[in-house]
């Protein structure tokens, strides 16, 4: 393991980038995902269609393909973002499809009666969703969203393929110098494990905190 200690700064830089990539793209995914879930339960058929197309598109395209397309394709039409920004956008768009489906399953667990009661009070569809349905739907899907967070953390390693020096990429570079793949990648693996273990614990805490008395 002293290989890892010798290159500690490379590893900590990598972990920092991985954490930034994870946090920013997760925040984006959560936001987009909730909006897409709202589209999918909208009373307007066209909006439901948009939501469905979004989810089907991003769930059925490999993340690596999306990353390469955005990184090398967008500049061809004159749009060029920094690599890190591109990776954040792509991962957020991709994971949002999964968040949307998790949130939608949560929405389906909230009784129709509560939605009717909200409408009967005079709340608009948007208000019912925001004030009554989503707060309950989200509490019910803390665990699945936690799992998506963990998957997202792992998926950030694909950003290495498009030039972002996150943990996996950093490990690769160290290994090029040291030629000791096993300790180097065990080190990187431990980094991911720590992030995901903390995420798992937090998920549990949040789930207990927001649980609804039923």
């Amino acid at each position: 393991m002293d290989v890892v200690l010798r290159h500690l700064s490379a590893f900590t830089d990598g972990i920092t980038t991985t954490l930034e990539l994870t946090a920013l793209s997760f925040a984006g995914a959560l936001l987009i995902g909730v909006v897409v879930a709202a589209l999918r339960v909208s009373p307007v058929a066209a909006l439901r269609g948009v939501g469905t197309v979004y989810v089907e598109t991003f769930q059925n395209t490999p993340l690596l393909v999306l990353l390469v397309l955005f990184v090398f394709g967008l500049p061809e039409v004159g749009v060029i973002f920094p690599l890190f920004t591109t990776a954040v956008i792509v991962i957020a768009l991709y994971e949002a499809a999964y968040i949307a489906e998790a949130v939608r399953s949560g929405i389906n667990t909230v009784s129709i009666g509560q939605a009717e009661a909200a409408r009967a009070l005079g709340l608009t569809f948007g208000q019912s969703l925001r004030l009554v349905i989503l707060p309950q739907a989200l509490r019910g899907v803390v665990q699945p969203i936690g799992n998506i967070f963990i998957a997202l953390t792992m998926n950030t390693s694909l950003a290495a393929a498009v030039g972002v020096v996150e943990l996996t990429s950093a490990a690769n570079r160290v290994n090029l110098l040291e030629a000791q793949p096993i300790p180097v990648f065990v080190g990187a693996g431990l980094g991911y494990m720590v992030i995901c273990a903390v995420a798992g614990l937090l998920t549990g805490v949040i789930e207990r905190k927001v649980a609804i008395v039923r």
Binding site: S111, Q114, R119, A120, G122, L123, T124, V132, I212, V213
Partner: protein
């Protein structure tokens, strides 16, 4: 809420349903139903299961879309969709069989949500009004409890308070006691009787014949998606004119 007395407002139809038709798929549930409820009037809808009572009640605030026909509220036609409908719905309170309280909010928050978000009341005003209403329905001490911590009767009283908080012109009750254990039925009916006495315009779908006798101005008997007989409780329960009503009453009153 105590301002309207039955005698003074009887000329204005508060709710008017004209030629309502409604099907669920191939099943016709309402056929050419007309119903007029005067301001301050208490109308009880009774009839056998599947008669269309609940559907009619839900059509009155357009929770259920009608296939044809119009619903007028205080002279104004309810639109099919959108914000205008949402605005008019604030004037119609609704109480459901399953209470439908918001599970993630306390009783107090359930009651203040509409006034704050829809009517734009300040949190303080909404709070004071809500506590007064909860006191009136007898569950002031449950204000900070969550719905799941309440008995069925308490939940239904909270739901009534929630509907009243919007200061509606009319209250719809869709089988409000059907989901309750027998010992809790009266605590809810008592609140409803008080409300009726105070002059609230009410449409009540119920199987509680006692309530109909005590509080109704008119009883509307429905069967097979149509209104079959209308009368005062006195005449309806003692001298029904149709065979269907007689048949129905013999079944529900024989025990």
């Amino acid at each position: 809420m105590k301002s309207t007395s039955p005698s003074s407002a009887v000329l204005t139809p508060m709710v008017e349903a004209r030629a309502i038709n409604k099907s669920f798929g191939a099943v016709r549930v309402l056929t050419d139903v007309d119903l007029t409820v005067a301001a301050g009037e208490v109308v009880v809808l009774i009839g056998p299961s599947g008669a269309g009572k609940s559907t009619l009640c839900r059509c009155l605030n357009r929770l259920e879309n009608v296939d044809s026909g119009v619903v007028l509220l205080d002279g104004e036609e309810l639109p099919a969709e959108g914000r205008a409908l949402a605005r008019l719905r604030t004037e119609v309170g609704m109480v459901f069989q399953q209470f439908n309280l918001f599970a993630h909010k306390t009783v107090l928050q359930n009651v203040t949500l509409g006034p704050i978000r829809v009517k734009g009341l300040s949190a303080g005003d909404a709070d004071r009004q809500a506590r007064a209403l909860l006191d009136r329905v007898g569950i002031a001490d449950k204000a900070d409890h969550y719905p799941a911590q309440l008995s069925g009767g308490q939940q239904q009283r909270a739901a009534i308070a929630r509907a009243l908080a919007m200061q509606p012109k009319v209250m719809l009750f869709d089988e409000p006691t059907s989901a309750l254990d027998p010992e809790m039925v009266n605590e809810v009916l008592d609140v409803m009787v008080d409300l009726a006495r105070e002059g609230m315009t009410m449409v009540v779908v119920t199987h509680e014949m006692g309530f109909a006798r005590r509080a109704a101005d008119r009883v509307v008997f429905m069967a097979d998606g149509q209104i079959v007989e209308v009368g005062t409780p006195e005449t309806f329960f003692t001298a029904p004119t149709t065979d269907r009503a007689r048949d129905f009453l013999s079944k529900v009153l024989s025990h």
